[in-house]
Subunit: 408 residues, 2 copies
């Protein structure tokens, strides 16, 4: 059971979280609880570190920002004890959770099971573990990056062969679209790992891509639910455990995209590698890439990236040109675009989804600027002002509001 920052924001919320844990214990289960820092605490620490120096040592950064989870773990253990549940806390070094040495974005290498299992055998019912952290082989505290506590939770569920990994958050599951944009958006009872992966990487912020990947790799059923309501959540599971095999499962969107076109690039081998190598070196998260048909040995390359990366992207491209690493005529930035995607494993077996999507958008007078597809998703860049309209129209015309198949 993993509780995110808003679910442990204060003592009152932690007591609610503890009551969910108690229910599982009362059912006869042993529980591993993974906790985030109290909402806001980690950000406060990050701000402090940033204000010391923008060029901080990531090892010290990790030592500082991991402290919030330690506090929550100890306090939640105390609350559980106060409810007469045998509980204790573990910090990353105590388990130990060993990770790579990539501080602030470490990957979990291994989780030792001996310590926790020994205590469970002695009668412990709940192990409360600080999420988001581990230790490197150099014995320094590491953190796992954004969404790290979810990753900790899925990794423990995999390693301890848990029945289920419950992710408690402040939304009650995965929806067919963002309910703030689509009034008729419907909560999914089940979603396949593949679909969740696409939705996660497309801006549905409930679960991070890395956690879904790990859950898929280790076949961990992940149940996303709210600690603020008793409504059923969404189970992320295998395709074949999913009853509602509709063509489309959901519409995702990402508001703040930038479209960057490099005009008249020499069209010869190695040019794309140079360009995207330069962008990658600067840590720019390039998403969609489109290359136009070459005419007379020159071509245009268009790509999208998060809007906040656009200025650095432009600068690094101009630097590459100056250093004669890339030869192009011009760069055109469009900072007024967004990305809208339809996702569904049913697309594998059903053709015509792309055509239908484009027709729906055309019907609303929405011009498509870039298209990118995968086996189970179609994404388009459109003007940002059309984002809500595009999401609503797609949700409506693909009839995602209709709950035609009774869920399990």
């Amino acid at each position: 059971m993993k509780f995110g920052g808003t679910s442990v924001a204060n003592l009152e919320r932690m007591r609610v979280a503890a009551s969910y844990v108690k229910e599982e214990v009362d059912r006869g289960n042993e529980v591993i609880v993974i906790v985030s820092a109290m909402a806001g605490e980690t950000n406060k620490l990050v701000e402090t570190v940033n204000s010391v120096s923008p060029y901080f040592d990531a090892r010290e950064y990790d030592a500082v920002v991991s402290s919030g989870e330690n506090v929550t773990a100890g306090i939640l253990a105390l609350i559980l004890q106060d409810m007469r549940i045998p509980a204790r806390s573990w910090q990353g070094w105590q388990v130990p959770i060993t990770t790579t040495s990539s501080h602030s974005s470490a990957q979990i290498m291994d989780i030792a099971t001996d310590n926790l299992n020994a205590k469970f055998q002695e009668g412990l019912k709940v192990a409360v573990v600080a999420g988001f952290q581990g230790i490197s082989q150099e014995n320094r505290t590491t953190t796992l990056g954004r969404g790290g506590s979810d990753l900790t939770a899925v990794a423990f569920a995999a390693k301890f062969d848990c029945e289920r990994c419950d992710i408690f958050t402040d939304v009650d599951g995965i929806y067919t679209a963002d309910p703030r944009i689509v009034f008729k958006a419907r909560k999914l009872n089940r979603i396949a790992y593949d679909e969740m992966l696409e939705l996660a990487s497309l801006g549905a912020k409930v679960l991070q891509t890395r956690s879904v990947q790990m859950a898929m790799a280790h076949q961990v059923p992940v149940y996303v639910r709210s600690s603020f309501s008793r409504k059923p959540g969404t189970l992320v599971c295998n395709e074949d455990e999913k009853m509602e095999n509709r063509t489309i499962s959901g519409i995702a969107h990402s508001r703040d995209e930038a479209k960057i076109s490099i005009i008249s690039v020499a069209d010869r081998p190695g040019v794309a590698a140079t360009i995207f190598g330069a962008l990658s070196d600067k840590g720019i998260n390039v998403d969609m890439i489109v290359q136009n048909i070459s005419e007379s040995g020159r071509t245009d390359i268009t790509f999208s990236c998060p809007i906040e990366h656009a200025p650095i992207a432009k600068k690094s491209l101009l630097d590459a040109k100056k250093d004669n690493l890339a030869n192009f005529k011009d760069i055109v930035l469009d900072l007024e675009v967004c990305k809208v995607s339809v996702v569904g494993i049913g697309m594998r077996s059903q053709s015509g989804v792309a055509a239908k999507m484009f027709a729906i958008l055309a019907n609303e007078g929405i011009n498509i600027k870039v298209i990118s597809t995968s086996e189970i998703k179609i994404s388009v860049l459109v003007d940002r002002k059309y984002m809500e309209l595009a999401v609503q129209a797609l949700h409506d015309k693909f009839e995602l509001h209709a709950n035609r198949i009774t869920p399990k």
Copy 2:
């Protein structure tokens, strides 16, 4: 170099602390820095834990309250790095600092030197270590109790055979009396361990008794100074390194004392043991004990304790009477007393100090209620309303304001 909570209260203060460290590095020294939590942080965590349950698990308490020091250690390391000083942080488990398992009041068993020394050999200049904490043999985080970071500092200084242990605090040294009470109080350039021990246990809050004891045992010169001013501080050192061998070094006071008299106790062996055993079981800090001359097989016993312990002390004595463990007629509480003491190693060789002290107090019309003496100190309980008058009169008549001997 140890920096207390007010000396690392915020980034600005931490930068000042770092500048003191830099001076030592610039002098060619390697430095171990011990840090407290930012002022107020630990209290906030303690309050949170207390609000969960008054009967908390001390192991979880320690896991929670130790986090403040970890944050300070990381941030101070970052500030030092930003000043181009090779620095890194260590938490208790990383050193490791091994302690007993008496959570919240653990004793340091050992400090490993290999890790830090290896890094110093690689060119590290400053090791920033989280104070107040360690780990038990069960691999749980422990804390050392009140004044724990001072203890960490002295222990590191002893273990690493350091030249000196500088304790940076918000006062600029040890005074002949509390300067808020005695306008003419004079800062001591040097004070002997023995004297500091008496002053520490008598309510001069600058250094805790345990730290002074450890410094004395390991012959660690402790230099108490302020991080808020450039004034020279006070060196706590061996008697023979002390130049100013005056009879009296200082006047200490403790405002909130209670005097408890047990009237008409059976005067036979074992009675005192029963009474003070019962008080000790309740964690009551009994200080002075006086027993009157026995008449007709009954006696009166008077003792003092911190005023906040008085109600529990009374209750446990009445319980002992009810259970027939102690037989006495009555208990009389006096909650309006304070303790005033004169301290000085010169008292060993000079008689008449007690007589002079009593005469000075009598001259001011101050009645002495209880007297207790050691080799280098005389303490009296007097009515609280006379506290300032008593301290001032003693300071004046023993001429402590006069700096007759030029300090080294």
